[in-house]
Amino acid sequence: MEVIRGQEWKRPKPGPDAFERPFFEAAARGELLYQRCPKCGHAQFYPRAVCTACGADPEWATASGRGAVHTYTVVRQNGMPPFKDELPYVVAMVELPEGVRMMGNVTGMSPDEVGVGTKLEAYAVEFEPGLALPFWRPLR
């Protein structure tokens, strides 16, 4: 996925521990990670120290970076900065073909054009050098 660097970050900033950090480091390299269990094959996101299906140790896996809107909302009222200056905006649950869902903003299209099933691709935005978070835009 494309990585956008050098933008001012005003949003709440992830403070990952050593275990979670690889997700954000990979995103800053343009890779979208999720977890897969080597024992039972279960896919999961957000990253955890245990497979929620069988209890084994999950491993990192790389996703294609594509997905589709499972459900979404257009936030039209939020009193907190920086979000209050960005209204209206879309927050979606994105279904990945790898079998996990990720929350994210859908940008690059009008909120009115977003629907359940809209096909998306991920891009990453660096929030500090070497660490990035995924966002979503229409599949090109």
Binding site: P12, K13, G15, D17, V74, R76, N78, M80, M103
Partner: protein, 387 residues
């Protein structure tokens, strides 16, 4: 009824919906005083205590037990969000049956509106400070509001089943009609489906009038055994069944955005009681949002999954309908001080005692409460019956 069957004997509400003169612990205290006065038990009779809160003073059961001066031998601080008090009923009922205690007090209180304004639904939830951790790292940076989380559930339900905004609006209209009968309710003027649909969109597809109020308020109830209840002031209300479960905690982890844990715990509750949905006369269901009620209705088995919209549109939940909903005016129009589950139990007790005044459902013998905590995350269902 056997001697140790659990019953509810006293209920009390603290001042609501706007009570700037009360702190959170003072809401707990006032509600306790009123619940004890209601049943006639002295405070020293209490040997069990359950409570939950949203942070700050009054959040911890042990701190509230100290403040209220309760010498307990059974304590439960289960915190599942707004449904905590339905879980407390389940746990206290088991404790009473086992003889772990004789008389349990459950309290909730919050000065939410006076202390924090109306920020809960549209900002406060997203404001987690400069740094976020754990699951929040994958949610908070995207600015989802609390209303927005429930809006995602409503959107998926509409997509999957063709549910319409008009269906959801009908729920708000019916609850408002009951609020008109409650002199203390925050909003009492009648509204129409069109009023809901033309109210401001907060997070599509949820309008302002699809959302509950933010208020101050607290509540308390006293549980004891059937044997102990015999010589008390009020008719005892029986706990016929109580069960709970969770499918997720964070909204991003909801496995099926149209289905809650009530799909599992409600059948268990009915089985304990030996009843079916057809036996229920009145329901007190968590109405943080209109979609919360619709989801719980389906999951509790009052209509098949996906048919909640048309079911509601038939008017069953209205005053005079066959399944009146939230006869105190609910969270949608009367009182929602952060965690509403305690009020569901209190209003169900009033109905089963025949003390609900103009909102009384004639001949009500069985009431169901369904509490929802988090984001349709932790669900507790309780069936109560007239003795």
């Amino acid at each position: 009824m056997s001697a140790r069957d659990p019953v509810i004997v006293g209920v009390g509400l603290s001042d609501y919906p706007v009570a700037p003169h009360l702190s959170t612990p003072q809401h707990h205290a006032q509600a306790m005083q009123r619940a004890l006065a209601d049943c006639g038990l002295p405070k020293r009779a209490l040997d069990g205590y359950c409570s939950a809160g949203m942070g700050g003073a009054g959040a911890e059961a042990v701190a509230m037990a100290e403040y209220l001066g309760i010498d307990h031998r059974y304590i439960d601080s289960t915190m599942t969000g707004g449904s905590s008090f339905e879980f407390h009923v389940q746990h206290a009922a088991a404790a009473l049956r086992q003889g772990l205690c004789e008389t349990v007090l459950v309290t909730y209180g919050s000065n939410f509106l006076s202390a924090r304004g109306r920020t809960l639904g549209t900002g406060g939830f997203a404001a987690r400070g400069a740094h976020v951790h754990g699951a929040d790292m994958f949610q908070a940076p995207y600015g989802l509001s609390l209303v927005g989380a429930y809006a995602m559930v409503a959107r998926r339900h509409m997509h999957a089943y063709g549910t319409k905004p008009e269906h959801l609006a009908e729920i708000a209209v019916g609850v408002r009609e009951f609020a008109g009968l409650n002199p203390l309710a925050m909003y009492r003027d009648p509204i129409t489906v069109q009023d809901v649909l033309s109210s401001r969109m907060i997070a599509d597809p949820l309008h302002k009038l699809d959302c509950c109020v933010v208020s101050d308020g607290g509540g308390a109830f006293v549980m004891t055994t059937a044997e102990r209840a015999r010589d008390l002031r009020q008719p005892a209300v029986r706990v016929l069944g109580a069960a709970g479960g969770q499918t997720h905690w964070n909204i991003s982890q909801m496995p099926d955005f149209t289905r809650s844990a009530a799909a599992k715990c409600a059948p268990e509750t009915f089985a304990q009681a030996g009843l079916t949905p057809a036996d229920v006369d009145v329901i007190q269901f968590y109405d943080s949002f209109t979609i919360t009620v619709l989801t719980l209705l389906e999951d509790c088995g009052f209509c098949p999954k996906g048919e909640g919209g048309p079911f509601v549109a038939e008017g069953h939940l209205r005053r005079g309908g066959r399944l009146p909903l939230n006869t105190d005016g609910g969270g949608l129009s009367s009182c929602h001080s952060g965690m509403r589950g305690v009020f569901l139990i209190i209003e169900a007790v009033r109905q089963l005692r025949g003390q609900a005044g103009a909102a009384q459902v004639p001949g009500a013998e069985v009431a169901m409460c369904a509490g929802s905590g988090g984001f349709l995350s932790g669900i507790g269902t309780v069936l109560l019956g007239k003795s």
